[in-house]
Symmetry: C2
Subunit: 220 residues, 2 copies
């Protein structure tokens, strides 16, 4: 049975999360940014993770996580989220304080510990940020998805899918930067025509018609 070090667990979790956002192969640079490390270090680690067959690694062509790798990543994510629930529900941490501590706690290896903790917390399905907690088998109870035009002002969420898969529509989304995985926030809704203004990834604002918004699915 493959055993991963703390660092490997962290990398794998990051790779899984990045690949869930974009759905395509994940780049060395992205991983380096996410892990706050240098691309050279990432290359090194990718080689190791490739040898352990938790990722599929083709030099210069980014990374895909394997089924085995997903299991490991989801296990770490499950532990991270359960500890977050513990910190908020039991120890009265505020939701913005928990991430750093959970980053350490997520590596504790005892399986029975996590089972007991899960039970103690009442088998929670979502963490304090609303992210779903994978179950023991790595299954995730997905949050309901809403068309973007049904959100209210100041609502936030993440683009998880599109209804219209026409190439023209996807091309448009690509151009404006509204990719799958983007974090959005509704800044303005125009009553007259239903068009909205959103903030994408806390970086740039974007206007779109009601028709476009209706085809973008948001997970809150």
């Amino acid at each position: 049975m493959t055993n991963l070090t703390y660092a490997e667990e962290n990398y794998l979790k990051a790779i899984y999360q990045l690949s869930e956002e974009g759905k395509k192969g994940v780049s060395t640079n992205d991983i380096a940014a996410e892990m706050k490390t240098k691309p050279a270090s990432v290359s090194d680690m990718l080689r190791k993770l490739g040898e352990k067959e938790v990722i599929e690694y083709r030099k210069y062509y980014g990374v895909h996580i394997t089924e085995e790798g997903k299991k490991f990543a989801l296990r770490t994510i499950r532990k991270h989220h359960l500890w977050e629930v513990f910190l908020v529900d039991k120890l009265k941490f505020s939701w913005d304080e928990v991430n750093a501590v959970a980053d350490e706690l997520q590596h504790i290896k005892s399986k029975i510990l996590i089972q007991r903790l899960d039970e103690y917390l009442g088998f929670p399905k979502f963490d304090p940020h609303g992210d779903p907690i994978p179950d023991e088998y790595g299954d995730v109870r997905a949050r309901p998805r809403l068309p973007l035009n049904e959100l209210s002002i100041l609502d936030t969420g993440q683009i998880v899918a599109v209804k219209d898969n026409s190439s023209a529509f996807l091309k448009y989304l690509d151009k404006v930067g509204a990719y799958i995985g983007a974090r959005i926030k509704v800044l303005e809704k125009v009553e007259f025509d239903g068009s909205i203004e959103i903030m994408v990834d806390n970086k740039k604002t974007l206007f779109m018609s009601k028709e476009v918004a209706a085809n973008i699915l948001i997970m809150q």
Copy 2:
């Protein structure tokens, strides 16, 4: 402010505990046995801990922990014990399952986490094994001490001091292996003369008169 790695924290905790037992300098071999590692690795680590001034290290002459080092060790011990209480009281672990998990949990760095955990557990003063938990400032609420002859059959404890400090008495204790720090268990009490039979360190049994037992102080 000095920062210690996980391994350094583990060594320091072991050194502190060994030095509490024997009161003299701690030997490289003893540390290696305690840490389940090799003497050569210990030498390496002692050099590092010496540089960080948490121990006083004279080559070939064993080790003394410094005041600074004690603080670190007590902090780790406090965390270890608090997590043990959490595992037993909240997650329903049995007292013999907790040590391995607590060995991992004791390294989690967040100060506020430990404060909140302490509060959540009701500021416990003793861990599930009866060992006292150092407070935030490293102070330990000592357990009441009893003369060995006042224990009952099957009572357990640890030799923490002797009343009679005569060299003859200490020599005798040394010879029979009843050193400070030894774990004892009362196996038999003879009504007639008050003499008792005890198990020392789960290794060997020992008979002693009431007079001798009365001079040995036990912490339960």
